[in-house]
């Protein structure tokens, strides 16, 4: 089985978020980058298939040279090959089209992408890959088993779960639950050394791509000061909740 895991290179979850260029660009100053957590859940499950059934695992990212450290981490965790499409990721359709172009050169049985990246939260790439390739698509997966040519996935739904079967090839939208946070792997030292020798192929983009333009980003308003209300003064609390916070 050949697995492709799509990796987004995203700011660390503890990063301070600021915008520049009239609030149209993310300020990357001093920001540490990580593997998008939803992608990492998928990568960890892919490693499980590799160890259990000898699947090969490729990782792909659309990004500039800075994303290579993130791809190397995926290699250190155990991926076999990495591919970087040499383009700045601008929108979901461009990213999906570039990944599909690479997929046409190497066929995959299973494509895993995080259900959304934690930076721009578009949540569209895995669906677009499925649409562009005609592969089946299961999103919000919290469980995945594969037997022969048949996948059994568990999807998270509002207030419940759904178990679905599908033949391969298949695109999976990964999230927490596919594996747990405690299952995530820290690269071991030997893995880091080996990652240096594993292939990281850089391919040129196939198209210009950008379809949408960001007009501006806006941060949520800063939290206001805390108001302390005397526990005896319920009327004041109700008045504040009704007139000021407008929640009741």
């Amino acid at each position: 089985m050949k697995i492709l895991v799509c990796i987004s290179h995203v700011p660390d979850t503890t990063s301070k978020i600021n915008f520049v260029e009239n609030d149209t660009q993310f300020d990357t100053q001093g920001v540490q980058y990580i593997i998008n957590p939803n992608d990492e859940f998928g990568l960890t499950r892919a490693m499980w298939f590799k160890e259990k059934s000898g699947a090969s695992v490729d990782v792909i990212s659309v990004g500039t040279a800075e994303t290579e450290a993130t791809l190397r981490k995926a290699l250190a965790i155990g991926a076999d090959n990495a591919i970087r499409v040499n383009a700045t990721a601008r929108d979901a359709q461009q990213v999906a089209k570039e990944i599909v172009a690479v997929m046409q050169e190497n066929s995959y049985d299973l494509v895993i992408a995080g259900r959304e990246s934690i930076d721009y939260n578009g949540g569209m790439v895995p669906g677009m890959i499925a649409a562009l390739t005609g592969m089946n698509y299961l999103n919000n997966c919290i469980g995945l088993e594969i037997e022969g040519n048949q996948a059994t996935a568990i999807r998270e739904m509002d207030g419940g779960k759904e178990t679905i079967t599908s033949p391969l090839p298949l695109v999976i939208g990964a999230q927490k639950g596919l594996v747990e946070e405690s299952d995530l792997r820290i690269p071991n030292m030997r893995g880091i050394m080996m990652a240096r020798k594993k292939p990281l192929t850089v391919v040129e983009p196939t198209q210009e791509g950008q379809q949408v333009q960001t007009v501006s980003f806006e941060k949520p308003a800063p939290k206001g000061a805390v108001k302390l209300v005397d526990p005896e003064n319920i009327d004041e609390l109700i008045s504040l909740l009704h007139n000021e916070a407008k929640v009741i």
Binding site: E68, A69, R72, K73, A76, L184, I186, P187, N188, M189, R190, I192, M193, A195, R196
Partner: protein, 386 residues
């Protein structure tokens, strides 16, 4: 001159940081309070390759350089200085000596399981009457032809309770003074080896520190490391490299306390603004940042010299002295910045302050390091700017 870490070095740093945050942070306060050894976490450190980080791959190690070792120790020490000293004593005292001077048989028998983290190692040099003056060994290893008969007591042995293999320094020929000293690999399970009770310490409380008694222990001749009389020289060389590990530990303790203090100072307000905006606190943070960065440069440089195959004795002495002084000074300041909260365990800085003290004492006290640096000056080695 290039001050940038390579991608591999950053990856090691990142992996150690991730390990420390996800595996060591939880339970660190309880382990410290109750002196619980982090055995599970040490096993994970073995699986991740930290327990044989500098040992060659041929013997099951990770084959990385001293800078990788330093970066990993720094990150681990920020969260748990006890786990860090377990790793440091194991790697740079026990493993380094066996890999550098051990026979092929010694390497196959002892180094491989140690480097894989399956077994733990310790270095037994200090004695009740021989600390800084390590040449005054009272532990004896009498040459009995086929074996040595080992008798004596070793004190303050890091990993003493958990170590399966001990690197023991003992006097074979008292007439030759330090030239009559030898180093031996001793197995914990051998008859006559008795590990004393765990020391109840001020800091690094979850690391296990013990005294070890040797009573008529028969040590096979093939377990002596190097030629007859090589033990003292070996011990001094071990400490030269070991100092880099403790320097990295001290650096991590200081940096961990600084990170906590810097963060706390932005969320704690007084007189209508974050305390970081009060000059009294801002100046403390500025001094912390500057001193830690200076210590970091010394520590990384000592590792770099070791990796380059250049003499690093004075550099590791400077790094260890500076980093441990910075750790002590600024963990105290970190507690001060935290005010009353800093005095309770929940905020971690009081533990880091207690942990910092030992870095001024073990693997050569601050005073001994000044002597080492001064001797290098007298030899003319530090006459010019470096």
């Amino acid at each position: 001159m290039d001050f940038k870490l390579s991608e591999e070095h950053k990856a090691v740093q990142q992996a150690a940081r991730e390990f420390a945050k996800t595996r060591l942070l939880e339970g660190v306060i309880e382990r410290d309070s109750k002196m619980i050894h982090p055995s599970e976490q040490v096993a994970e450190m073995g699986a991740l390759g930290f327990m044989g980080i500098m040992t060659s791959e041929k013997y099951g190690g990770s084959g990385m350089d001293a800078l990788s070792y330093v970066l990993a120790l720094e990150e681990i020490s920020k969260i748990d200085a006890s786990a860090a000293v377990i790793m440091s004593a194991h790697n740079s005292l026990a493993l380094w000596a066996i890999e550098t001077y051990g026979s092929d048989t010694q390497k196959e028998t002892y180094l491989t399981p140690l480097a894989q983290g399956k077994n733990i190692g310790c270095f037994c040099l200090s004695e009740p009457e021989a600390g800084s003056d390590a040449s005054m060994q009272r532990t004896t290893a009498e040459d009995k032809g086929d074996f040595y008969l080992l008798n004596g007591v070793k004190n303050w042995i890091t990993n003493g309770g958990k170590a399966d293999y001990q690197l023991v320094i003992a006097q074979t020929d008292p007439d030759k003074k330090h030239r009559g000293i030898n180093a031996f690999i001793v197995e914990k399970n051998w008859e006559g080896v008795t590990v004393g009770p765990k020391e109840d310490k001020l800091g690094i409380r979850s690391s296990d520190t013990h005294s070890i008694n040797y009573t008529d222990v028969k040590v096979p001749k093939q377990n002596r490391i190097g030629a007859d009389g090589f033990g003292f020289k070996l011990a001094m060389q071990i400490l030269e490299g070991g100092r880099i590990g403790i320097a990295a530990q001290a650096l991590g303790i200081a940096a961990g306390a600084y990170e906590l203090a810097a963060n706390y100072s932005t969320i704690r307000s007084s007189f209508g603004k974050p305390i970081a905006d009060h000059q009294a606190i801002a100046f403390k943070l500025a001094e912390m940042a500057m001193d830690i960065e200076a210590a970091r440069m010394l520590v990384y440089r000592a590792a770099y010299l070791k990796d380059s195959g250049e003499p690093y004795g004075y550099a590791s002495a400077m790094a260890k002295l500076k980093a441990s002084e910075v750790a002590m000074k600024h963990t105290v300041e970190a507690v001060q910045i935290h005010g009353g909260n800093g005095y309770v365990k929940e905020y971690h800085v009081e533990r880091l302050m207690r942990d910092a003290k030992i870095t001024q004492i073990y693997e050569g006290t601050s005073e001994i390091h000044k002597i080492i640096i001064a001797r290098n000056i007298r030899k003319g080695e530090l006459a010019l700017p470096i």
